[in-house]
């Protein structure tokens, strides 16, 4: 019994203690409420609005919340008229209590047994917090436009918003997605209209459509309820086209394959050309193996080579080089310094240069003369260069003023000191020019264009040519290197030098030369031509790479030249010598000069055999 009583008392004590402690604990958490926070206020139609707040901790005691507001410019404080319509922690202002374009100052107060807390006040104007309800009655229908389906979406504004009177102006936006693609919405802006068409649908797809709205100054509403729609399959259009395309491509592919197969061989050659093995034309490997050399090499032999007949001689280009050196060293003019260099070189080298240089380049001719007249050559060279640029007329004047010859050296330069005839002077000038052009494309010769290879050439001059434009001649002269050849003509000929002409080329491929005998007398300036030496003068080069040589005359200006070159005055053929050559009926149109048989090959003449092959081409 005592234990039971003791137990009871202990229990009571314990209970009391517990109560005490719990009470104590409660007392510790009791506090005034925390400040509530106002979250937002919204008006769905610009006629009413609702404000919501978020309560803070209530401090353990039952707490009440109250909303108070003040309108602008008024000190009257009103309390929220309706706490319940809009749910918990909200205040609803109905139409009567709502004034637009008026600032409301709203604050929420939390009260409990221990105290109260005020929220931060908020100023709102109803017109700025409009957030309408979502649009209603959303309908989606599948329509067809020429076989292609589209969605016709239509809806209505929220019933509360008064768009009819223009109180609120709403703009709409809708979004569409396929059912299987989540969060992949396609947005469409619909403006103020209440229907919309959606195209580009997937055949057989299932779509979700939603719409929302916004006042012209306000917040977007929530998305409306979703509408589902299924697009029927519309295979035929799309697929049939692709089938057609596929069939067509397959057909073309087959044709291409067939073509490839047919031409596989040639294609192979095109893409991977076979590497040619070593092969000589006309050479039969098999014959070689068999071992009959005659048969083998017969294929390699070019028939009819070298040409054996004498008629071929005419076709061969034989060039006769002749340099006529006048007595006066002043006559030597050089077009360029190259000649001087050539003179220097010629002393050392014995090889003929194929550059059309003057006789100084030749190891056989005019060596001593070149050495003597170097100085004068330089002088006259400069003068001549100057002269050239200045024009021929000045040259003519110079002629008159000085006794020196400043014209182009020519084989037959009609120098003033050699002749007193003014006409001769003029003509001599022309001749000089002409001579200098000897290796250049001859103006009067038809068809010749390029400069001739190195050669010493003489050619006839006709009076007609006197009228040739001096300037052009000058220009041409400047360009021709072979003029240098002529300049070498300035080198005085010595009796030690001889001139050789090519007589013919015999069967053994030997060039038969003969000394040049000057026939055509004029060149007044060259009376000291040794006799017995013959020169053939190249008039020019024709189109067939043939030298046009002057027909030799005998001691007179008989140049059976073409009309261009002769005139009635007996052809101003200033030839230093004439070659006793056989002539073709076409005057001056022979290239080879088969000489008389008794002419002998002279070795002390200069023959520029190297030039034989270098005749110009048209």
């Amino acid at each position: 019994m005592g234990c039971g009583a003791m137990m009871k008392s202990v229990m009571e004590v314990l209970l009391l203690l517990m109560l005490f402690f719990t009470a104590h604990a409660k007392e510790k958490s009791y506090s005034p409420p925390e400040k509530p926070t106002q979250t937002r206020c919204r008006s769905p139609e610009k006629e009413t609005f609702t404000c919501w707040w978020e309560p803070g901790s209530d401090g353990g005691l039952p707490t009440t919340y109250a909303l108070y507001y003040r309108k602008e410019n008024s000190e009257t404080v009103y309390e929220c008229p309706d706490y319940h319509t809009a749910g918990e922690n909200s205040c609803f202002f109905n139409k009567n209590d709502t004034s637009i374009w008026v600032n409301y100052n709203i604050s929420v107060v939390a009260t409990n047994a221990l105290g109260r807390a005020f929220s931060d006040p908020v100023d709102i104007d109803v017109v700025y917090i409009v957030e309408p309800n979502p649009p209603e009655k959303l309908t989606v229908a599948v329509m067809e436009d020429k076989g292609w389906p589209f969605l016709l979406v239509s809806w209505e504004p929220p019933h509360k918003a008064d768009t009819r009177s223009g109180w609120i102006t709403l703009i709409y936006e809708l979004r569409v997605r396929l059912e299987e693609e989540e969060d992949d919405w396609e947005m469409h802006h619909a403006g103020q209209q209440k229907m919309f068409n959606i195209f580009s649908l997937r055949s057989g797809g299932e779509y979700l459509v939603e719409v929302r709205c916004k006042p012209d100054h306000g917040f977007w509403s929530e998305w409306s309820s979703t509408s589902y729609v299924k697009v029927p399959d519309y295979f035929h259009r799309e697929k049939s086209m692709w089938i057609l395309v596929a069939v067509f491509s397959a057909f073309i592919f087959l044709i291409l394959t067939w073509l490839l197969h047919m031409n596989s061989h040639s294609l192979k050659h095109c893409i991977l050309p076979p590497v040619p093995g070593p092969k000589i034309k006309g050479f039969d490997n098999k014959l070689l193996k068999n071992g009959n050399s005659d048969e083998i090499f017969s294929a390699l032999v070019v028939p009819n080579f070298p040409p054996a007949s004498s008629s071929k001689y005419e076709e061969m280009l034989v060039e006769y080089l002749e340099v006529y050196v006048p007595e006066e060293p002043e006559l030597m003019l050089e077009e360029s310094k190259d000649l001087l260099d050539g003179c220097h070189k010629s002393e050392n080298s014995r090889s003929d240069s194929d550059s059309g240089r003057g006789s100084c380049d030749s190891h056989t001719l005019l060596m001593d003369k070149c050495g003597e007249t170097k100085e004068e050559e330089r002088q006259t060279n400069r003068e001549s260069s100057l002269m050239e640029t200045q024009g021929w007329k000045e040259e003519a004047i110079n002629h008159d003023t000085s006794g020196k010859v400043k014209t182009w050296p020519s084989v037959y330069s009609p120098l003033p000191q050699y002749g007193s005839n003014p006409l001769d002077k003029q003509s001599s000038l022309e001749t000089a020019k002409q001579h200098s052009l000897s290796t250049s494309p001859f103006l009067t010769q038809p068809g010749t264009k390029d400069a001739l290879g190195p050669s010493y050439t003489d050619f006839c001059l006709s009076n007609k040519e006197n009228h040739l434009h001096p300037q052009t001649l000058a220009h041409r002269e400047l360009q021709t290197r072979s003029d240098v050849n002529i300049s070498n003509i300035g080198c005085k000929r010595s009796s030690a030098t001889e001139y050789v002409e090519v007589q013919r080329v015999n069967k053994e491929d030997m060039v038969l030369l003969q000394p040049v005998v000057s026939r055509c007398g004029h060149i007044e300036g060259f009376p000291n031509l040794p006799k017995g030496e013959d020169y053939s003068k190249v008039k020019g080069v024709d189109c067939d790479n043939r030298l046009l040589l002057q027909r030799e005359g005998t001691g007179e200006d008989v140049c059976p030249c073409v009309d261009q070159e002769t005139n009635g005055e007996g052809g101003n053929c200033y030839t230093s010598s004439t070659v006793s050559t056989t002539q073709k009926p076409t005057a001056c149109m022979y290239t080879a000069m088969p000489l008389q048989e008794e002419t002998a090959l002279t070795l002390n003449g200069y023959v520029d055999t190297a030039t034989m092959g270098n005749l110009p081409s048209c």
Binding site: K46, T98, W101, N105, R164, W167
Partner: protein, 233 residues
């Protein structure tokens, strides 16, 4: 935020495009008279089109004033005061104007009254905006955008006034109203307590923004009253 951005972008693109013809329209001289025997020298515009353009004008003015107000708020008003515009007791200039403040009241206003209210609002703000502009120019840190916007608004307000006058003439067949009577409004309501020009300008901007919204709303109401085919439904 995305919505806001999209909205502002769309607005900044759409509204100038919409208002482009409006600007051209409003420059038509207003003293055209339709002589009975003579030729009407001024191009005439239909009432609907004029109303549309006036509405567009008002919309743009509101948008720009809203931007100016938020710009000003950002730069010059501390956060604590932004929500307490009424605390200091600053009143709008036009509070004396008898503007109804609820939809039901406004629905009962006649067309004539709507138009006149709009005209009153416009005319009462022309001078204060000029004053505001000069005040803003005195600021050290006023950004150019703000100054440009306020300048633009004051210019366009004058155009709006002209448009409304023409509208009144067309719709109500009334003559031109004088603009002198509203001058006193500003001076009478000058608040002696507004010592800080910043607060004063801020109040000015927000009040103007509100009044711009009023103008726009009235005009839209007017438009939807005209005819059903406007599809205001």
């Amino acid at each position: 935020m995305n919505r806001m951005n999209k909205m502002t972008v769309m607005q900044s693109i759409v509204w100038p495009l919409l208002l482009w013809p409006c600007l051209q329209t409003v420059s038509i001289p207003l003293d055209c008279r339709e002589d009975q025997g003579g030729v009407n020298r001024c191009p005439s515009i239909s009432q609907e089109k004029l109303l549309d353009r006036v509405i567009q004008h008002a919309e743009l003015i509101y948008r720009v004033s809203e931007e100016s107000c938020s710009l000003f708020e950002e730069m010059f008003i501390p956060f604590e005061l932004q929500l307490q515009r009424n605390q200091a007791g600053y009143a709008c200039i036009t509070k004396a104007l008898p503007i109804p403040s609820s939809r039901s009241e406004i629905q009962q206003i006649s067309d004539k009254w709507l138009l006149h209210s709009v005209l009153m609002l416009v005319q009462s703000w022309i001078e204060p905006l000029v004053y505001l502009q000069t005040s803003l120019n005195l600021y050290d840190a006023a950004p150019d955008t703000l100054l440009n916007k306020t300048k633009w608004v004051s210019e366009k307000l004058i155009s709006l006034e002209q448009g409304v006058v023409v509208l009144i003439k067309k719709m109500l067949d009334e003559g031109l109203l004088t603009t002198n009577s509203e001058q006193g409004l500003f001076h009478n309501n000058a608040q002696p307590e507004m010592l800080e020009s910043v607060m004063r300008d801020y109040t000015s901007l927000s009040c103007f923004k509100k009044d711009a919204h009023k103008m726009e709303t009235f005009l839209k109401l007017l438009k939807c009253r005209q005819t059903d085919k406007y599809n205001c439904a």
